[in-house]
């Protein structure tokens, strides 16, 4: 019941209305051309083109998410702010380590060590599926295992991403450009010991917020989680910066 209330339905979106409009207009144009204007070929063809566009728009209208982008952003910011509050209140200064699903026993998640270690945590076996986890033998090897935007985004992938830069670029493009509609273009470059990902015209803006000081941005989180899954290695976000319309994320594999 609660779940039903939380869903914001926009059944009749712009695509539906445009599609219906073109369907009616196209039918009128074709019929007028064939019955009244003695089969004026170019006008009939124009009517057929309108009908083709109507079918395409109506087909796409069925696939548009029923939750508006504004609601999606609201839920995302609420979740991130809550985690960031916990991180800030605990006085955690260390950055998240993005783990592949093989090290979390389920789906890729981020580990935030409670204490800053001289070296990044080395995790060799799957961690228990709990919020507070012990990842090593040392007394300070305790951290928070949190779900990030990357966790959910990797769940949207149809298969495990390949490890090469081209495969990773294709996977990230299908996510950011196709499924999420959050960017225009993705470029992936291999830079030892990790990757540099350039996201053209990102539509998620959270750099500079206080949440961003505690955790990485949602874009970086998605990039690092997908890379962790592809390489089956933990990753950390080394650098994030905006240059004009391009957002650059540099991530490093944790050996």
């Amino acid at each position: 019941m609660q779940g039903n209330r939380d869903k914001v339905r926009t059944d009749k979106n712009a695509y539906t209305w445009t599609g219906l409009g073109l369907l009616v207009a196209g039918t009128i144009v074709v019929l007028t051309s064939m019955l009244i204007l003695s089969s004026l070929v170019w006008l009939t063809a124009l009517g057929i083109a309108m009908l083709i566009m109507a079918f395409i728009l109506l087909a796409l209208a069925r696939t548009i998410p029923r939750v508006t982008p504004e609601v999606g952003m609201l839920l995302l910011e609420t979740g991130i702010d809550n985690i960031a509050t916990v991180v800030e209140e605990l006085g955690i200064k260390s950055k998240p380590v993005y783990l592949p699903s093989s090290l979390t026993g389920g789906r890729p998640q981020a580990l935030i060590p409670l204490h800053i270690n001289p070296s990044l945590p080395k995790i060799t076996s799957a961690l228990p599926r709990r919020f507070i986890v012990r990842y090593g033998n040392g007394p300070d090897d305790v951290g928070l295992l949190v779900t990030t935007a990357g966790t959910v985004a990797t769940g949207m992938l149809e298969s495990t991403p390949g490890p090469s830069a081209t495969q990773l670029e294709s996977t990230l493009a299908s996510l950011f450009v196709g499924k999420l509609g959050a960017a225009d273009r993705i470029r992936v470059y291999v830079i030892e010991p990790g990757l540099r990902v350039e996201i053209r015209a990102p539509r998620i803006q959270n750099a500079g917020t206080w949440t961003h000081q505690c955790l990485d941005s949602s874009l970086a989180s998605v990039v690092a989680s997908v890379a962790a899954e592809a390489w089956n290695k933990p990753f950390v976000v080394a650098k994030e910066e905006q240059h004009g319309r391009t957002y650059t994320v540099e991530i490093e594999a944790v050996e």
């Binding site: 009939t44 063809a45 083109a49 566009m53 395409i56 087909a59 069925r62 548009i64 196709g178």
Partner: protein, 83 residues
């Protein structure tokens, strides 16, 4: 959904441009217009590889309907030749 908008604009522009060009060269057969429309729609749909699975399924259905129309044209042309 920017990718949807880009796709719709690409297909609409191509169909309109095709109509203008075919009118300009004096094409007088509805079959020619329809064949160009279907081929262009199928090619553009294939080029948009980053569509999500649901959109791809829906567009495959539209492509199948358009292709069925194309096959009707081909069959009628073949019957004319045989008759």
């Amino acid at each position: 959904m920017k990718i949807y908008n880009n796709y719709v604009i690409a297909v609409a522009s191509l169909l309109l441009l095709t109509t203008v060009v075919l009118v300009a060269i004096g094409a007088n057969s509805l079959d020619v217009y329809y064949t160009f429309y279907v081929v262009e729609a199928l090619v553009v749909t294939e080029l948009y590889v980053y569509f999500n699975a649901r959109a791809r399924r829906s567009l495959t259905l539209v492509s199948a309907v358009l292709f069925a129309g194309f096959m009707v044209i081909v069959l009628s042309a073949a019957l004319k030749v045989l008759a």
